[in-house]
């Protein structure tokens, strides 16, 4: 799958220290090339991945990836080099297991190849998922960027919103067949058909103090600015920084890999806390108070995503048709919609990525979800991420009566120094 056989370069690495030193040096070289605007080899990219056991039994990472044609060779405890058996055993990077729920994949391959490889891995395993950083989460992480960086440093934020389901009626049917996850990445000249709908993608690079002063005002004026899909944590020890993407990808645009890794561990710890909080609060279960068959009560909280503006009838219809009328839909949901009104639908369905049940009420004003216990919290984060990206960038989310943003805030504040 990948053009470069990095195995030749990394095969001699036999310790964590060795890997870090190698990637540190590699990052430093790339930084020099970036300065000269002549990047000869791809930057270091990391992908934060969540892995869970479907039936309560969590498989060892080696076993899990082996079933997908990936072989891991242990370098040190919780560190592996990665070989793709489908590519004649080609070495493609390293996997470092951070906790029993998250690992990170480090690679030196081109973005387009590495993105595809990771996406393929995730799509083909219900036990793997991206770490989903929604616009709401990024807005809180932005405050950590402000806290951690000097005001004169430069911030880099990418905003991406595409009102995917807001369409002109003529384009309606074509869109169903033509949905492309990377549609915003195409050059405009490549588009053969002009589709009128809101689509925003732009990058803001300015001093942190300037962005901090203006961002919330700008967001109030123009809601797509809530849909942050990429945020840079400036490096504290040099120029550049670490670009976090909404799907858990992190590109190292600094000359230091150790700092890159520290930032990944920091964000993963925030995400882990957020995940535990959302699952604890949102999971519905029938709890037996006394002995089985006696006192039963339902515990849990509904997840509510409230749209800033009501969806039009066309948009609502298209969203439902697109999400439940075809198997390969962007939200990765399945269910038979029970129509309760022109803008109200119930679905007792499935999160098709994780193969877990999810009950949904979808209206022009909100999406409400009930997650039976065991449904991974990532379902919530993916839902929020996709709603902000494709339906309403200014949507607010709640788990019960607690605003999701508050939970991210609490999670990020709770990450403290650990010896």
């Amino acid at each position: 799958m990948l053009g470069i056989d990095i195995f030749k370069e990394i095969k001699s690495i036999n310790s964590r220290e060795g890997m870090i030193r190698y990637l540190d040096g590699y990052s430093s070289e790339r930084m020099e090339e970036l300065d000269e605007r002549k990047v000869k080899r791809p930057l270091v990219k990391s992908y934060m991945i969540e892995y869970t056991g479907h039936t309560g039994r969590q498989r060892q990472i080696q076993e899990l990836l082996f079933s997908l044609g990936i072989e891991l060779k242990e370098i040190e405890e919780s560190l592996f080099s990665v070989f793709d058996k489908r590519e004649n055993g080609k070495g493609i990077g390293f996997i470092e297991v951070l906790t029993n729920r998250y690992f990170v994949f480090y690679t030196l391959h081109e973005s387009k190849d590495a993105d595809k490889w990771v996406k393929h891995l995730v799509i083909h395993s219900p036990e793997l998922d991206h770490v989903w950083l929604s616009g709401l989460t990024f807005n809180v992480l932005w405050q950590r960027v402000v806290q951690l960086s000097k005001p004169h440093r430069y911030a880099s934020i990418l905003f991406v919103h595409e009102s995917l389901y807001q369409i002109d009626s003529e384009a309606h049917d074509d869109e169903l067949e033509d949905e492309d996850e990377n549609s915003l990445l195409h050059d405009e000249e490549e588009l053969t058909q002009i589709v009128e709908r809101r689509a925003s993608k732009f990058k803001l690079v300015d001093k942190i103090s300037v962005v901090q002063e203006k961002l919330s005002q700008l967001q109030n004026l123009y809601s797509p600015l809530y849909a942050i899909s990429q945020l840079r944590f400036p490096s504290p020890i040099g120029r550049g920084g670490h670009d976090f993407f909404d799907n858990g990808k992190v590109t190292n645009r600094s000359g230091n890999f150790r700092d890159h890794r520290s930032h990944i561990i920091y964000v993963q710890r925030i995400y882990d806390r957020l995940m535990k909080m959302t699952e604890e609060k949102a999971w519905y279960s029938n709890e037996t108070v006394a002995k089985p068959g006696q006192f039963q009560k339902i515990i849990g909280s509904p997840v509510t995503i409230i749209f800033g503006e009501s969806l039009s009838k066309d948009t609502f219809d298209y969203w439902i048709k697109s999400s439940f009328g075809r198997l390969n839909n962007r939200f990765r949901l399945w269910g038979n919609p029970i129509i309760l009104g022109p803008k109200k639908v119930h679905v007792y369905g499935i999160d098709r990525h994780l193969w877990k049940p999810i009950f949904l009420e979808l209206t022009d004003k909100h999406l409400m979800a009930i997650l039976p216990k065991g449904t991974c919290g990532n379902t919530i984060h993916r839902l929020i991420c996709n709603i902000q990206k494709y339906i309403d960038p200014s949507a607010k989310a709640y788990i019960g009566d607690v605003e999701y943003k508050e939970m991210v805030e609490q999670s990020s504040k709770a990450v403290k120094y650990e010896p």
């Binding site: 479907h54 039936t55 079933s67 219900p126 519905y284 279960s285 029938n286 037996t288 108070v289 006394a290 068959g293 006696q294 006192f295 039963q296 009560k297 339902i298 515990i299 909280s301 509904p302 509510t304 409230i306 198997l327 399945w334 269910g335 038979n336 029970i338 129509i339 309760l340 009104g341 022109p342 803008k343 109200k344 119930h346 007792y348 369905g349 499935i350 098709r352 994780l354 193969w355 877990k356 049940p357 009950f359 949904l360 009420e361 004003k365 909100h366 409400m368 009930i370 039976p372 607010k396 709640y398 019960g400 009566d401 607690v402 605003e403």
Partner: protein
């Protein structure tokens, strides 16, 4: 789906699901069902618990009072405020008189809500506190219901026993919404955060006001349900069972041998309430409905896939899936299955093998 709102307010399953939603924490600025109970500090303590009268009470009653040895109310609410209080909640279509067949259950519930409430709930000793018995009825006939409670309470007191406090929640509707009405006694006892009436659901034009159902089916409510509501509930039940099957098959490692029991399906579809229902005839009927549904699912498979699914008596429904391609095809066909195309009001006849699963 276009139910009459008045009919819906009288439907005990709608009432039960509404009562559960009233206890759910929701976004302050936008709640589909206004969480009156949650905001008033009322939690679900138990759903459908079986509560028995203590022996001394049963001896005192003898045959002097028409009541049961125990009862299974729909819900018990617990106030989490400073002094713990418990509300026994029972859902009914409408008010009834002291001569009605429902009076026997009401008398039992009045006794259970009395000074023995802590004892019967296993929380402490007798006389520590009083409970409250509330009937949630689908009309504004709260006064008639209170009169019935007064008569039944008098009968209890005549035996030198003590009933619990009592009251009603009435569900009514207008052009704009569904309202919950209650008396001052109920408001005071439960420290409700708002005075009666409270609009609990705002009606939207041409939209069915039903919220997502936690409990999609209850055999005890079926007799009181309209045909439309019965079909609606059966559809939800089938959708939930289908999603359970898809979830299990989709997440299984191949090759896989998966076995499902009808009881397992029903428990997963009712948040575990199936196993506590006592009406064995109703449960048997429900199992028949589910079996029929699964036969329909199996018959919709293409020929090569049919052999993947089989029913074995004493075991259940077995899916033998040999590889990923078969898994993918099975999932594809399951996901194409539409319970709405079935005859949702079909009467299922008993079979010779009813008791085998």
């Amino acid at each position: 789906m276009n139910p009459s709102i008045d009919e819906l307010c009288k439907d005990a399953l709608f009432q039960l699901n509404l009562a559960i939603w009233l206890t759910q924490p929701q976004a302050r600025e936008h709640s589909y069902v206004y969480p009156l109970f949650y905001e008033s500090g009322l939690n679900i303590y138990s759903i459908g618990p079986l509560l028995a009268l203590p022996p001394d009470i049963r001896i005192s009653i003898g045959d002097k009072l028409d009541c049961q040895d125990g009862a299974r109310p729909d819900l018990i609410l617990e106030s989490i405020k400073a002094s713990k209080k418990y509300c026994i909640l029972e859902c009914k279509a409408s008010s009834f008189s002291s001569a009605s067949s429902n009076a026997k259950q009401a008398t039992t519930l009045l006794l259970l809500a009395g000074p023995i409430v802590f004892e019967v709930l296993g929380l402490g000793g007798r006389g520590q506190n009083l409970g409250l018995l509330c009937y949630l009825i689908g009309s504004s006939q709260m006064q008639l219901m209170d009169e019935t409670f007064d008569i039944l309470s008098r009968e209890i007191r005549n035996l030198k026993l003590e009933p619990g406090a009592h009251g009603c929640f009435g569900l009514t509707s207008s052009q704009t919404g569904i309202f919950l009405e209650f008396s001052e006694t109920v408001e005071r006892h439960l420290s409700l955060g708002r005075p009666s009436p409270v609009e609990v659901i705002q009606l939207e034009e041409d939209s069915d006001p039903r919220p997502l159902y936690f409990i999609p089916y209850d055999p005890n409510c079926m007799d009181q349900q309209s045909k439309e509501e019965q079909e609606f509930c059966r559809r939800i039940l089938f959708e939930r069972i289908l999603s359970h099957i898809i979830s299990e098959i989709g997440g299984a490692d191949m090759p896989a041998s998966l076995v499902f029991t009808t009881e397992g399906f029903l428990n997963s579809a009712t948040f575990g309430l199936y196993e506590i229902w006592e009406d064995n005839e109703a449960k048997k009927h429900l199992r028949r409905i589910v079996k029929d549904f699964l036969m329909n699912v199996a018959s919709a498979f293409d020929e090569p896939l049919r052999k993947c699914m089989s029913y074995k008596t004493q075991v259940g429904w077995a899916f033998n899936i040999s590889n990923k391609a078969t898994q993918a095809e099975l999932l594809k066909q399951l996901m194409k299955f539409k319970p709405e195309t079935l005859d949702l009001s079909k009467r299922i006849q008993p079979s010779l093998f009813d008791d085998e699963d």
